[in-house]
């Protein structure tokens, strides 16, 4: 009568060890399958909402303008001058498929903005001298 619970205990212990072993093996197989040269690619970035995409685009363009400035000591006359040296493709507004607007105010000030911030339920959506203005 006393042997039954002990036998049951060993049975559970073996099952638990088996599950752990399968998990460990599964994890090793997973790590191995994710390797290899076909996986030598950067991780996928999370999909962005239109609003997030616009902010990301504005910052990317702004950084490209800063890099242009670092070499030329002046801001570009047009955003087209940034491609391909400073940005591989010039992004366009995701909602309207229109170009972003760009203005140079002086030798120390520039601004990149969306054509109409109301499309994003905002009053202002622009980047001025590298700083995002969004409200």
């Amino acid at each position: 009568m006393n042997l039954k619970p002990k036998k049951r205990f060993y049975k559970y212990l073996l099952s638990a060890l088996g599950i752990i072993l399968i998990c460990v093996l599964g994890y090793i197989v997973y790590l191995y399958s994710q390797g290899g040269q076909k996986n030598y690619t950067p991780p996928k970035t999370e999909e962005k909402t239109n609003g997030e995409q616009v902010v990301s685009d504005l910052m990317d363009i702004s950084h490209a303008i800063e890099s242009y400035y670092a070499i030329n000591l002046s801001y570009p006359s047009s955003l087209k001058n940034l491609v391909p040296e400073f940005i591989s493709n010039m992004p366009i507004e995701p909602l309207t498929n229109r170009d972003y607007s760009y203005k140079v105010f002086s030798d120390t000030a520039y601004e990149v903005s969306v054509q109409n911030p109301q499309n994003y339920n905002l009053k202002e959506l622009r980047v001025r001298n590298g700083k995002i203005i969004k409200y």
Binding site: L31, G35, P43, H63, L73, P84, N129
Partner: protein, 249 residues
């Protein structure tokens, strides 16, 4: 008496002309001022080329609206930057120091913007120098910019890595070399650079995040950007672009 007066007026004229020439150096002669600044920078900083650009206020010709400096090939704490540009808004310069001692000194300015560009080859050279510094051989590392990541393809003999490091990843090194791929991002805070791995493949195995965390804690920050003489700045932003890594203050 007349003679004395004429000598006095002669000295006054000389003083007046001297003042005018100093003002001319300070204010109107843009090229000369740019040249003097370039010379003063070259005296303090070793680099390939220096470009200075001054824009005077349109309303008042005595006031500098902006002063921009570009230096090529400057050493910033082990990394040779391809370009460094520093822009000052409304700067006030110590002209006496500039003229007499050939030294650039800013008395005040309303804003400063620093942009540093590093190309793949400058980072590759930095790695090569580090390999030499630590006496590492046959280390093969290739970098590629894939915004927002820097991709790294590596092939390193096991004997070239520290035993402490090898111990942590020993399960993933069946042979005598470490071969694989890494995608990482960079961060800058108070001029200290840190790298964060988003994906690392070592000898066909994807390295778990917990192990990457150990390395990040162990090796970060991996470099400190040193401010250059004359120009005081702190780097707090870093962005990977298709051709350059852009560091800004």
């Amino acid at each position: 008496m007349v003679k004395l007066l004429s000598i006095r007026s002669y000295f006054l004229i000389i003083l007046f002309l001297g003042e005018i020439s100093l003002c001319a150096f300070q204010i109107t002669n843009k090229e000369d001022l740019e040249k003097a600044i370039r010379k003063a920078i070259a005296r303090e900083i070793s680099c390939k080329e220096i470009k200075v650009k001054i824009n005077f206020d349109l309303k008042s010709s005595s006031k500098i609206n902006s002063l921009a400096v570009r230096m090529d090939g400057v050493n910033i704490g082990g990394i040779i930057a391809d370009y460094i540009s520093i822009q000052y808004n409304n700067p006030s310069l110590d002209y006496q120091n500039l003229k007499n001692k050939n030294k650039l000194k800013f008395l005040s300015y309303s804003g400063q913007k620093v942009n540093i560009l590093l190309s793949v080859s400058s980072l590759q050279n930095y790695l090569n120098l580090k390999e030499k510094e630590f006496g590492k051989n046959n280390v093969n590392i290739r970098l590629k910019f894939s915004p927002p990541f820097i991709e790294c393809f590596y092939d390193v003999p096991k004997k070239e890595i520290a035993s402490e490091t090898a111990e942590i990843i020993s399960k993933f090194i069946p042979g005598d070399k470490l071969e694989g791929y890494a995608a990482f991002t960079l961060q800058a805070k108070k001029s200290e650079l840190s790298a964060y791995s988003s994906k690392v493949i070592l000898n066909h195995f994807l390295i778990p995040g917990s192990i990457l965390g150990i390395f990040e804690k162990k090796f970060n920050p991996f470099e400190k950007i040193s401010a250059i003489n004359i120009f005081n700045f702190e780097i707090n932003n870093i962005v990977v672009q298709s051709k350059y890594v852009l560091l800004t203050n």
